[in-house]
């Protein structure tokens, strides 16, 4: 394999692992905002316990997900120095805005939320979670704006052999950005809804004596999935005319690029149908008393994640052989680094990310099994306060 192939494989691996974490983070923070807002308004203890239990899982996932993001960011410079050299003036703007106004602030607000638990006025504490969620969505906004530029470069002028930023507004109205941003946001909310449903179903299967707590969580999960999936599908299909106009060769980039697209659509439609069929069964908890749907709910947890990876595969493989569509070829953007060095980093990071994903899984599973009422047994140093 050439340096370019290895660098591409590494980028695909890092992005995929990173996105698994991101999806759950964005999905859960949205639901947490609802839970904590209800607690702050009503003062009902069940909402506080829900915020605490789901918040603990959210924090575990966030803290481990950060490192995949750090590697992700370094990778542009390590393996793709040609991208910064050629398009850094334009592509770098949304990327830097992401790190500064989104990630930098998001992590800090989240830190304040974690350590402010029980120590701050509850409205102030709620505001911190809202700010965390808003900056998390801002993060997705800027990253998708940067990615949209790679798919359909706009707002630039050519100056010698580099691109210059000409019209920043054009980056934000880029059609390959807008519909994809909505699509990604609702994919995350769907993942959060399915996760909430599945974990709650697991506790009903185990007959945990927390019926009210998990009944509410399960309902919230099902309703969220049912509300999010139609928007998800709509924003997905809205991208086809955009692709036809701006990337006509997308479906023929490689012979098999249609396969992940097909799987993604199948999963999306399946989740929409199942969640809407489940809605009437929420009446008098029929779905819980029937029991067998509970097993399907647990089995369903990985599906939104798989669909998201398929979606990314289609979007990114379909862009080839271009890194910046029509302007910069992928093979021309690779750093002047020995293939063996890239191979080494590919092996090291793939191994570490597999370990990281397993650790995330193990810590979340442990937090789930312990259920909502735990004596302050620390799951991780971050969560010790929650």
């Amino acid at each position: 394999m050439s340096a370019a192939d290895l660098a591409r494989l590494q980028f695909a691996t890092t992005t995929s692992f990173h996105f698994l974490f991101v999806l759950l983070t964005l999905g859960l923070v949205t639901l947490l905002v609802i839970m904590q807002t209800r607690f702050t308004i009503t003062g009902a203890p069940v909402h506080e316990r829900m915020t605490r239990f789901w918040g603990r899982i959210y924090v575990i996932n966030y803290a481990l997900g950060i490192v995949t993001g750090v590697v992700m960011e370094f990778q542009f410079g390590l393996n793709w120095s040609g991208l910064a050299t050629y398009a850094g003036d334009v592509f770098g703007a949304p990327l830097a805005l992401e790190t500064l106004i989104a990630f930098f602030l998001e992590s800090t607000f989240l830190g304040l939320w974690i350590f402010g638990w029980g120590r701050l006025n509850r409205w102030v504490h709620l505001t911190l979670l809202w700010l965390t969620a808003l900056t998390a969505f801002a993060s997705a906004f800027w990253i998708m704006a940067a990615n949209g530029f790679l798919q359909n470069p706009v707002g630039y002028r050519v100056d010698g052999n580099v691109l210059r930023l000409d019209d920043f507004g054009a980056l934000l109205t880029n059609p390959t950005f807008t519909s994809a941003f909505v699509h990604v946001v609702f994919a995350a909310i769907t993942a959060g809804g399915v996760f909430l449903t599945g974990v709650s179903a697991y506790h009903f299967i185990k007959r945990t004596p927390e019926a009210d707590f998990f009944r509410r969580s399960l309902r919230m999960g099902v309703v969220t999935t049912a509300l999010a999936t139609p928007v998800l599908l709509g924003a997905g299909f809205a991208q086809f005319p955009v692709i036809a106009a701006h990337q006509p060769g997308k479906t023929e980039a490689t012979p098999w690029v249609g396969a992940p697209l097909g799987f993604m659509i199948l999963i999306g439609m399946g989740l929409t149908m199942i969640s809407w069929l489940t809605l009437p069964l929420l009446f008098r908890d029929a779905v819980i008393r029937m029991r067998f749907p509970l097993y399907l709910m647990v089995v369903g947890i990985p599906f939104p994640f798989a669909a998201a990876i398929f979606g990314w595969m289609f979007r990114e493989i379909g862009r080839q052989p271009w890194l910046v569509y029509g302007l910069l070829r992928t093979e021309d953007a690779v750093s002047h680094v020995d293939a063996s060095q890239i191979l080494l980093s590919l092996i090291v990071f793939t191994f570490l990310f597999v370990v990281l994903a397993c650790v995330d899984w193990a810590l979340i599973a442990r937090a789930v099994r312990r259920g909502p009422d735990v004596a302050p047994a620390p799951v991780s140093p971050m969560v010790v306060t929650l």
Binding site: L64, V67, A84, A93, F104, L112, S335, V384
Partner: protein, 207 residues
């Protein structure tokens, strides 16, 4: 514009390295300290430094696009070591299964920064041990609560890499003024906001 962005980059890098001593330093001292206490004391600072690193690399990419790629890809294997150490350190601190993994992660990150210093200065390789030693000393000062020494060791951790970096001539490597002035509106107010917030985290957690 040039001075402004070098200052922003300098502040972010100094922020990262000044905070890095707390957790990597504490990690390096784990074999010699009571581990539970050391890890607990590190809590409010955990992840606090990495956000500065991410912000610094973001600014490096956008404001110095012609420099970023050369700088990072020129030290490819060093950054592989460093980032692998970072992943290991952060996962191990969370998992709390084997303390020596925390130690190994901290050692890899700090040796990685040492090697980057060697790369920047074109210095002989033993210079790489400067960073782990400085981090460990700062970690010790932090763990033993020697607050009078604290600003000195914090500065010693924070300065070597930004100073070595300042030897690079950045003319012609910066982004165009249009990009820079757009970013300036954002970058400058965000930094004090993060400083105040992180300060509050520490204040809250010691209450």
């Amino acid at each position: 514009m040039e001075t402004l962005w070098l200052t922003v980059l300098g502040v972010l890098t100094v922020g990262y390295f000044a905070l890095a001593g707390f957790d990597y330093g504490s990690g390096l001292l784990l074999p010699f300290r009571r581990r539970e206490v050391a890890l607990r004391r590190m809590n409010p600072f955990f992840l606090g430094n990495e956000v500065w690193l991410v912000a610094a690399v973001g600014v490096l990419f956008a404001a110095f696009p012609r420099l970023e790629g050369e700088l990072l890809s020129g030290a490819h294997s060093t950054f592989t070591l460093l980032l692998a150490g970072l992943v290991l350190f952060m996962a191990a601190v969370q998992l709390r299964l084997w303390w020596w993994l925390v130690f190994t992660g901290a050692l890899m990150v700090s040796v990685g920064w040492g090697l980057f210093l060697v790369h920047l200065l074109d210095a002989p390789w033993p210079v790489a041990f400067v960073m782990p030693v400085l981090f460990a000393v700062h970690g010790w000062v932090f763990q033993m609560r020697r607050w009078t020494l604290f600003p000195v060791t914090a500065a010693l951790c924070a300065l070597p890499i930004p100073l070595a970096f300042s030897s690079i001539d950045v003319t012609g490597l910066m982004a165009h003024n249009d990009t820079l002035s757009l970013l300036a509106w954002v970058a400058i107010p965000v930094i004090p906001l993060v400083v105040v917030s992180q300060w509050s985290i520490v204040a809250l957690s010691s209450r």
